[in-house]
């Protein structure tokens, strides 16, 4: 188990793995139906692969890598809209670096930049606002992207633009919200999941309370988890303990960062600036009700979708892609027809190959003992 050697606290990791083994040994888990635990957050996915967490777990436990990578789930049609805005001669289009390579139906933002569009990478929406101040004769558009972790930062930047009267600044809002997405996964007919690891930094903003429906209504355990491999192992143990004891609760392993009630100032800004969309399109998952936000009417002047006519064309995912099945845990990344052949991190076809937080890119990059073992065991 070479990865264990890289842990800061090898002894603690070994103790946790031993405790997980001991717990699993007392549970009645059929050979052909391992327990499936989904980590919702792409940060967890990256950490799980980097530290080889899957390889340490007994064969009765399978981790399913969820939809929590906002770059990965961005649909092609929205990328096309970005390109269309960016290619306007009056526009400076600003974006986080992560989103530059996401393929649209014709090109990515990186290709649009190479073709002459003024696309600039920023670290923060505040940088985009500063560019707007410095270029009053141009329209500066910020590509608002991410779950609740980054949603408040875009909202606060819009409030700042309003306060100072910077009117050549707008946001192309693609922020998405995690709870309706978890609900859509839970409502899926081919679902087999037995429990969840809850996202750490999304929960730092929204708190742990919004997940209560998972325990109350769907009777599944949910443990909000930190990103350290030890956090992840401990959270898996907590999920298993709930299953073993027949409980379904929301527990918070990451209480040092996540308050139960969330961050009041951040939630206040979010509520002030955004409203839910009726539905939003996800790459790999299709349309999910109430899973995205847009700017409220009061902030229409800062809404790039209202300011510029965007094509807003729905582009179907490439038919060869099986991202949706991977996301729901129905198949493993390497079981997809195009994994590692037509779809690679350099030339991603599907959502999950785009960012290092996507399950397929992580499988591709780190491989892992578990995959080898599963492939060897496959008939």
């Amino acid at each position: 188990m070479k990865y264990v050697d890289e842990f800061r606290d090898r002894d603690k990791a070994k103790i946790l793995v031993t405790e997980i083994d001991a717990l699993v040994a007392t549970m009645d888990i059929p050979d052909d139906r391992p327990l499936q635990i989904m980590e919702v957050c792409g940060g967890h996915t990256h950490s799980i692969f980097r530290y080889g967490v899957e390889g340490m777990l007994p064969k009765e436990i399978e981790l399913v890598h969820g939809p929590g990578c906002p770059v990965c789930v961005l649909p092609m049609g929205r990328v096309d809209d970005c390109v269309s805005i960016a290619e306007r001669p009056d526009v400076i289009f600003t974006t986080f670096g992560d989103a530059m390579r996401v393929p649209g139906s014709k090109k990515s933002l990186l290709q649009a930049k190479a073709d002459g569009a003024d696309v600039r990478m920023v670290y923060s929406p505040m940088d985009a606002l500063a560019i707007a101040r410095a270029n009053p004769e141009r329209e500066v558009v910020f590509f608002g992207l991410g779950f609740e972790t980054t949603m408040p930062s875009t909202a606060l930047t819009i409030l700042q633009a309003e306060a100072e009267g910077t009117s050549n600044f707008s946001v192309f809002c693609n922020h998405i919200t995690i709870v309706p997405t978890i609900k859509a996964i839970l409502d899926s007919p081919d679902l087999q999941l037995d429990g969840f690891l809850g996202p750490g930094h999304v929960s730092m903003v929204i708190g742990a309370a919004p997940y209560e429906f998972i325990a109350d209504h769907y009777k599944k355990p949910m443990v909000v988890a930190g990103f350290e491999p030890l956090d992840i192992l401990q959270s898996i143990w907590m999920v298993l303990k709930q299953i073993k004891e027949g409980r379904a609760e929301v527990e918070n392993q990451y209480a040092r960062i996540v308050p139960y009630e969330g961050n009041e100032a951040a939630l206040g800004a979010v509520a002030r600036v955004y409203e839910l969309r009726e539905h939003f399109e996800w790459r790999g998952l299709g349309s999910i009700d109430h899973s995205g936000v847009r700017l409220r009417e009061n902030y229409a002047g800062f809404d790039a979708e209202r300011k510029f006519a965007v094509p807003n064309v729905r582009i179907a995912d490439p038919s060869a892609c099986q991202c949706g099945e991977v996301l729901k845990g129905v198949i493993k990344p390497w079981q997809c027809k195009v994994f590692g052949t037509a779809c690679t991190p350099e030339q991603p076809l599907g959502a999950l190959m785009v960012s290092s937080e996507g399950a397929c890119a992580a499988y591709f990059q780190y491989g892992g003992q578990k995959r080898d073992r599963q492939m060897a065991a496959a008939p």
Binding site: R8, S47, V205
Partner: protein, 92 residues
């Protein structure tokens, strides 16, 4: 973008707009601290605090040990280097 990077607040730049300069592994950068201030924690009391920073916004107050641990894991994931590079490029 999604994982926060730890930094320490060096000075308050603008009390009304809640802007402060932080040090993130030697890179200095202005961030917004609106989400970590409250009546109990006014802007003026934030100097010296360790915070978790997401895309230029301090989102959570953390202790020094947590900051060190988080920075180490981000480095091992290869994310700290990319984040610091972006901060450096856009700090000017």
């Amino acid at each position: 973008m999604c994982l926060g990077i730890p930094g320490r607040i060096l000075k308050i730049d603008d009390e009304t707009r809640k802007l402060a300069t932080v040090d993130v592994s030697g890179v200095r950068r202005q961030v917004n601290i609106a989400c970590i201030v409250s009546d109990e924690h006014p802007v003026s009391s934030c100097v010296g605090d360790w915070v978790l920073i997401h895309v230029g916004f301090a989102m959570s107050r953390i202790d020094e040990a947590e900051a060190a641990l988080t920075l180490q894991i981000l480095t091992e994931l290869g994310e700290a280097q990319a984040e610091l590079e972006t901060m450096r490029l856009t700090a000017a």
